[in-house]
């Protein structure tokens, strides 16, 4: 490891069946796939046979991080957890969950670029990693406990600095809608029950080592500052939410909430977020307040401060203190999370007595976080809550439950919008208790099967936001027209890609976005005004490819795709341009392995091709276009009957989308009839062995 920077040098392999651990050399085996999702897909391809199911001992869980994790590169704290996905329906396929917090950095400081969990323990265990001392320890005292007690007790053993990733009762009970959590509020959706199936309760990591930065300290400092200077607020929103003296533009929907007079009201001494001129790099942490973003201005008085991942200045988690919630529900005063996690409790309810942004909504969030983040429940990007609402109000739940079970729930509290209802529901989900508790925890696919519901009906209902294979859309046409649709076809869970949405929602005027689009994707026509979409063109296909590749690149390097890429910036003097090569700059300097933007994008392509190959292999078909890259019917409808490409609708046209998929496949170098990558495409990315294996099974076009 003397000559290479960034990477710690070893991937830790833990076989829970035999109790043996060993290490691989990261650079020798995995340099070409960088880390993170690349590492995950490579291990699954090489070592987990088609037909393996998520809870089989033969399934593996790969906790992957990249060479930037644990360094001072901004926005690097994510761990990618890749495995066979329990809620992927009807055939489990490769999927990745992501968690933030301190785990990625601590794993690197302990000396590991990844952790591969293999086999299955014969009794509950936890994995203790303290630098090079790795032990599989008995976990019977933790099993049955929530995530929080487990994490604290492991911290007492490994030290207060340790990072602990744990499952709750939901994961133990093999509830498919379950998570792994770390650091109080950072969850990786979807993977909890896979660890539960292996009897692995938790992983505790303590690392006291170091990571080399290959470049000179002066150059590294310069590049880090360059990256910091281009940062916006969370999701790379580059304008503030209200007019500020230093700003030309603003956007009421921006996550950039700081302004004079807006205070972290629940800090021990209130802290004014103040004017956050983008040139002031010492005020980046004040820009974002996601509690206020989702709960409204009421949340300022509850805000203690921002929180988040190691080394990230953005602090997209908000810590809130709500004494009323403690008094009413007997839960702790403090809560913290972001986005789906923050809204977990609130999303179940159709409405609250005091409106969507009142006190009750805040309390519902507090109760939801308290329960879900300890039980370890996953929302499937809020699909759980949407399904629940529909099935309650259309009477299905009543028909599916026995009279006794139905009466056992305080439905009047649910209908009134009383957060206390969550105490009824969430523990039963975690324990698979009763028909409702069992069915709702299966994920949408399992739920449709069990209750004999029609997927076609789900796919026709826009409000449900269902996409395919048991999962919802995630930044589809509502965000970026055809580009969003394309991206949502490519994955086996909701597409965890934010590259495109970060750009379209950054708050800049359309004219500026179009200029940047022209520079990055070749034409201003790559982007349209939201809800005023125009027909498909090649530039949009390029934008889709770029979005996809950068998502995989970030997930492999350890950069946060909820912040990057950084093609736009808040700097007026730069014409709001960012730097499309920032990933290359960071990677090259940290590792000493000089790679251009194009070379890194090729690595990203290699990584995504592994995902594609795994999907094709495990589905046993090359007919991806027809059978995998599908699009729900609601995308092609409009409630008011407005035609596609008129203003005020996100409706897409079927013929146009067919063109979109053609153009996308062509951009990727894939066969347009099947949507499958060609042998040439695999070979160009250095995956000849993959093409060979697929060819032998007749899975090449």
């Amino acid at each position: 490891m003397a000559t290479v920077g960034g990477w710690a040098g070893k991937v830790l392999r833990v076989d829970l069946s035999t109790g043996r651990t060993r290490t691989d050399d990261t650079i020798e085996r995995y340099r070409d796939v960088i880390g993170g999702t690349g590492l995950g897909y490579a291990v699954l391809w090489d070592e987990v046979a088609a037909g393996t199911r998520p809870y089989d001992a033969g399934n593996k869980v790969i906790f992957g991080v990249g060479p930037l994790a644990g360094t001072g590169a901004p926005c690097n704290g994510r761990t990618a957890i890749t495995t066979l996905w329990p809620t992927c329906w009807p055939t489990p396929l490769v999927g990745t969950g992501h968690m933030g917090g301190q785990f990625a950095a601590e794993l690197k400081y302990a000396g590991y670029d990844g952790l591969v969990i293999e086999g299955k323990a014969d009794r509950p265990v936890w994995l203790s990693i303290s630098d090079d001392r790795v032990e599989i320890l008995d976990a019977h005292e933790f099993w049955g406990q929530g995530i929080r007690r487990t994490a604290v007790e492991i911290s007492q053993r490994l030290g207060a600095e340790a990072a602990v990733a744990a499952i709750g009762q939901a994961g133990e009970n093999l509830v498919p809608l379950s998570v792994v959590m770390t650091g109080y509020s950072h969850s990786a959706g979807g993977v909890g029950s896979v660890l539960g199936g292996k009897n692995l309760k938790a992983i505790g990591v303590r690392g006291t080592g170091r990571l080399r930065i290959a470049g000179s300290t002066a150059e590294w400092e310069r590049v880090v500052k360059r990256h910091l200077s281009l940062l916006g607020a969370n999701n790379q929103h580059v304008v503030p939410d209200s007019p500020q003296p230093w700003a030309e533009f603003y956007d009421p929907g921006s996550r950039w909430k700081a302004a004079p007079g807006r205070q972290w009201g629940a800090a021990s001494v209130p802290v004014d977020t103040g004017s956050c001129d983008p040139k002031d790099l010492n005020r980046i942490a004040y820009r974002t307040n996601n509690a206020v973003h989702y709960l409204g201005d009421i949340a300022w008085k509850y805000t203690v401060r921002g929180n988040g991942c190691t080394g990230c200045p953005v602090r997209c988690h908000t810590m809130i203190r709500v004494p009323a919630a403690a008094a009413k529900y007997g839960i702790p005063e403090m809560g913290q999370n972001t986005c789906g996690g923050l809204n977990f409790g609130r999303s179940f309810f159709k409405e609250f007595p005091d409106g969507p942004r009142g006190q009750t909504a805040v309390e519902a969030c507090m109760v939801g976080m308290h329960l879900a983040d300890d039980l370890g429940l996953w929302c499937n990007y809020s699909q759980l809550q949407r399904d629940f609402k529909k099935l309650y109000y259309d009477g299905t739940i009543r028909t599916k439950l026995s009279a006794g079970e139905f009466k056992g729930y305080a439905w009047s509290t649910y209908e009134k919008g009383d957060p206390a209802f969550l105490f009824d529901l969430l523990p039963r989900l975690a324990r698979r208790e009763g028909e409702l508790g069992l069915a709702m925890g299966l994920g949408t696919g399992g739920l449709l099967d069990r209750w004999g519901l029609s997927e076609t009906e789900w796919a026709a209902d826009h409000e449900l936001q269902y996409w395919k294979m048991g999962h919802p859309k995630h930044h589809a046409n509502e965000d970026a027209g055809q580009c969003g649709v394309i991206l949502n076809t490519q994955y086996n869970r909701d597409a965890q890609c934010h590259s495109h949405a970060n750009f379209t929602r950054n708050g800049l005027p359309l004219a500026v976005q179009k200029q940047i689009a022209a520079e990055v994707w070749g034409s201003p026509d790559a982007v349209d005004a939201v809800q005023a979409y125009t027909p498909m063109n090649v530039a949009k296909a390029r934008m889709a490819k770029w979005s996809l590749l950068r998502k995989e690149l970030h997930d492999s390097m350890s950069l946060c795709n909820w912040m990057g890429p950084w093609i736009a910036s808040p700097l007026k003097e730069r014409g709001y341009r960012g730097d499309d090569s920032i990933e290359s700059l960071l990677y090259s300097l940290v590792t000493g392995d000089k790679k251009s933007r194009e070379e890194l994008d090729l690595a990203a392509e290699r990584i995504f091709l592994l995902h594609r190959a795994l999907t094709i292999r495990d589905m046993g078909t090359k007919e991806m276009r027809a059978r995998h890259d599908t699009i729900p019917q609601w995308v092609f409808k409009d409630g008011a009957g407005k035609p596609a490409f008129s203003k005020g609708t996100i409706r897409m046209g079927e013929a146009d989308i067919a063109i979109a998929m053609d153009l996308f496949y062509r951009e990727m170098g894939w066969d347009t009839v099947t949507g499958a990558p060609t042998r040439a495409a695999y070979e160009r990315a250095g995956l000849a062995h993959v093409a060979q294996a697929l060819g032998e099974k007749g899975l090449l076009p």
């Binding site: 604290v152 690392g207 006291t208 990571l211 400092e221 790099l281 005020r283 921002g306 988040g308």
Partner: protein
């Protein structure tokens, strides 16, 4: 070196101190030894090293201090990373000279279940541990090879790696547990104030750290060097 140029303290005062250690010391002999910098004073060893009294170590006061505001710390650890990356070329928070990780999750009491602590699992407060650049630096006093001294221009107490023998006595001696140790090279290290432009202060995205000029308000000796009793065996 002229008698007047002694970091703002008259040599008479120093003589008085030195004499207190060894009554046989004459002014002439004192001046013969050379300048009155700390390093030179340590060369007085054979003179001041006593059968009974330990030698005198004199450290000019640090010009400034890193002042931390815990109400603003967001626990991002960019200060720790800046410290080691921009000074040592490696990401090594375990040897950072400003310390966040040990208080970040639970606060100084350590891990326990219950919300009465600090940090992420408590009330959110993160106390950033910084080197106090002590006037009577215990680390410097404890070092058996006088590897820690005040370094111009900031007069931070700094470990001289060429002298340090890696015994870790200073690590034990610091009452604030602020010493760091570079396991890779086997040497102690500590906050140098980055010679007057602290990298941690520059790196903090929440303006929770400031570099503040030292103002002596104790009303005793002003900005001059203060004698420190050596504490070696």
């Amino acid at each position: 070196m002229g008698a007047a140029e002694t970091d703002g303290v008259s040599y008479e005062r120093l003589i008085a101190v030195a004499r207190a250690a060894d009554a046989s010391l004459t002014r002439r002999r004192f001046l013969q030894v050379g300048g009155l910098s700390v390093v030179a004073l340590s060369a007085l060893g054979p003179w001041l090293a006593a059968e009974a009294a330990p030698p005198v170590l004199v450290l000019p006061q640090a010009k400034g201090l890193v002042l931390a505001d815990p109400t603003k710390c967001v626990g991002c650890r960019r200060c720790e990373l800046a410290c080691t990356e921009f000074n040592d070329g490696k990401a090594a928070p375990s040897m950072a000279r400003i310390k966040i990780a040990r208080n970040m999750n639970f606060g100084p009491r350590g891990a326990f279940l219950g919300r009465e602590g600090q940090g992420t699992w408590g009330n959110g407060l993160v106390v950033q541990d910084v080197c106090r650049q002590c006037a009577d630096a215990a680390c410097a006093a404890a070092c058996p090879v006088q590897a820690i001294s005040a370094k111009s221009p900031a007069n931070a107490r700094v470990v001289d790696e060429t002298k340090c023998v890696g015994c870790r006595t200073c690590v034990s001696a610091c009452p604030f547990r602020m010493m760091a140790f570079d396991e890779e090279i086997g040497r102690a290290t500590k906050c140098t104030l980055c010679d007057g432009t602290p990298k941690c202060v520059d790196a903090c995205p929440a303006a929770a750290l400031r570099y503040v000029a030292w103002r002596e308000i104790s009303g005793t000796s002003g900005l001059g060097p203060r004698p420190v009793e050596r504490r070696d065996a």
